[in-house]
Structure formats: structure tokens, C-alpha cells
């Protein structure tokens, strides 16, 4: 494994961790507050939305990493995956 791939793995892992911990903190905060304040459910929902957005963020980050490495084949593959997920999002809104 070359040095660029090692660095790319670190950024990708960091993205996933950031998403995981943000979602965890928001969900727990929302749950803890729900017997105290009326807007607690919004915090909880925000946590779940962060959870839903993290996989998309991880595709974008991977795509950018591939572009930086000039690995256009896999940048295109990432873009394809992103396109399908965005399509699902659009269809989901209309559902």
C-alpha cells in the first residue's frame, strides 16, 4: 500500500468517526433532554439525519481523494455511486 493510500484511509476514517460521534452525541443529547424541553425531538432527529448523511459524505470524501491521487477511474466509480444515492434521496422525498 502506497503512502497516498495510507493518508487517504486516514481522512476517510476521520470522516466516518466524525459522523459517528456527532450522530451519537446529538441522539443521546436529544434523548436526555426529551423529558425536560419541548424541542428535544428536533435534536434527536438532527442526530439521525447526521447518521443518514454520513455515508454520502464518505462517498464525496473518497471521490475527492481519488481525484487528488489522479486515479480518475475510481473517482468516476465514486461519482457513479454518489449519483445513485442522490437519486434515492430525490425519490425518497417524493415518496
Amino acid at each position: 500500500m502506497n503512502r497516498q493510500d495510507v493518508a487517504a484511509d486516514r481522512v476517510l476514517s476521520l470522516t466516518l468517526k466524525l459522523g459517528a460521534y456527532t450522530a451519537l452525541v446529538l441522539t443521546v443529547a436529544g434523548l436526555a433532554l426529551r423529558f425536560a424541553v419541548p424541542w428535544a425531538m428536533k435534536v434527536t432527529t438532527a442526530g439521525l439525519l447526521v447518521l443518514l448523511v454520513t455515508p454520502v459524505l464518505r462517498i464525496i470524501v473518497a471521490c475527492l481523494q481519488f481525484l487528488r491521487e489522479r486515479d480518475f477511474k475510481y473517482a468516476l466509480v465514486s461519482f457513479g455511486v454518489l449519483a445513485i444515492v442522490v437519486l434515492a434521496y430525490v425519490l425518497g422525498i417524493q415518496a
Binding site: S13, T44, G47, A62, I84
Partner: protein, 262 residues
Amino acid sequence: MTLAAMLLLILIGFLAGGFGALAGVGGGIIITPLLAIYFGLPMHQAIGVTLLCVIATSTATSSMYVERHVTDVRLGMTLELATTVGALIAALVAHQVNRRTLALLFACFLLYSAGSMLRKAWDSRNKKREEMIPDYTPQNYPAGLGASLIAGGFSGLLGIGGGPIKVPVMLLFMKVPLRVAAATSNFMIGVTAGTSAYIYWGRGDIRVDIAAPLVAGVFAGSLLGARISPKIRAFYILMLLVCIAGWLAAQMIYKLLTGGFQ
């Protein structure tokens, strides 16, 4: 929801996420039947909630596998082209499938998963932990993409990760080492489940009040589990999961035979 129910859901999430990460299998497969049998959730809602739990497990554990360079990001991204298409189509179709059919399909998949966990447990009896990853080049992409399409389909339909379908194909047909195959499958699950989760969310099949405590528990459990998993042997945890999966499958079949899941 009462405080007791909320704490119970957090605990279920914690155990499913923790055991799942320790044994290297998704814990989601246990959550759906628990919600459908004991919490009386309609199958579509149980599946929608489980999708979120599956994303949580995948995100938490793959952050660590990627960091340890076990995940093949390029292979995962390529196969995701197929899993997401399968997941999207299946999530759109799932709404037309009636609850009893979904429950039957789920029970069958539960038994299949129990079988594959049993074999995994058998294999893990006397294997050395954390061996080096040999050099490899993935072979036979058509087989991998085909299996990924099917796995994605099952994910969108049943809210599962589909690891038991992808991992053997990556191992046997694509000649990818087992640890890489497992980590890569796990990596793909977040994006795959995310794709169908958008459809379920849009339809209103994801109940925030039930999903939130489960997701919080799953996150905590799988972050902890993935951290200590290299240090333990998975045999007993896998056997425990086999028993739970078998029990839940039996419960689901019993409920189906007595006219449940309407």
C-alpha cells in the same frame, strides 16, 4: 414512550451493536424481529428502523477497519455501484410486498445467517488472531457485482446488511482474503442501507422515537466492540448469536403459522 421502554431499546441496541462488532457480523438481523415480535411494530417500520441501526454499525466499525487499512476502499466503492442499485429498487418495491411475505422472507434469511455464523464460529475455533493480510488482486468482478446486486436487494427489502451473501462471494470467487472481504462488506453496508433508508424515511416508515434510542445504543456498542474485537476470540459470541437468531426465527415462524404479522 416510557423511560423504561427507552432504556430497554438503548440496551438492545448496545448488545446487538456490541456483539455484532465483536463477532464481525451485523447486529441488525436481531433488531428487526425483536421490534416486530415484542414491540408490535409493523414489518415495514421494523425494517426502516433497523436500516438506521445498520448504518450506525457500519459507520462506527468501518471507521476503525479503514484506519487499520483492512478495508479495500476501491473494491468496496466498485461493488457499491451494484449494492446501491439493488437497494434502491428493493426499497421502492418493498412497500408493495405484504407484511406476512416480508416476515417469511426475513425468517428464512435469519436461518441462513444463523447457518453462516455457525460456520464462522467453527472456523474461528483455533485460528490465530490478526494475521498479516496476504497480497491479492480481486478477480471475477462480474460475480462480485452480481452478488452485490442481490445483497443490496435483500438489504433494501429486509433492512439487513447482506454480509452473509457478499463475503463468501468475495472470498471464493474474487479471491479476496477473509478479513479484507469482511471489512469491505461492512464498509459498503453504510452506503447501501443509506440508499434504501432515504426511501423508507420519505415514506414515513422510520419512527424517530424508536430509532433514536436504538441507534444511540448501537453506536456505543459497536464503537466499543470494534475497539476490543482484535483482542478476543469470537467463538462464544458467535454461538450466542446463532442461538438468538435461531430462537427469533422460530418465534417468527410460529407467529406466521398462528396468523400473525397482519
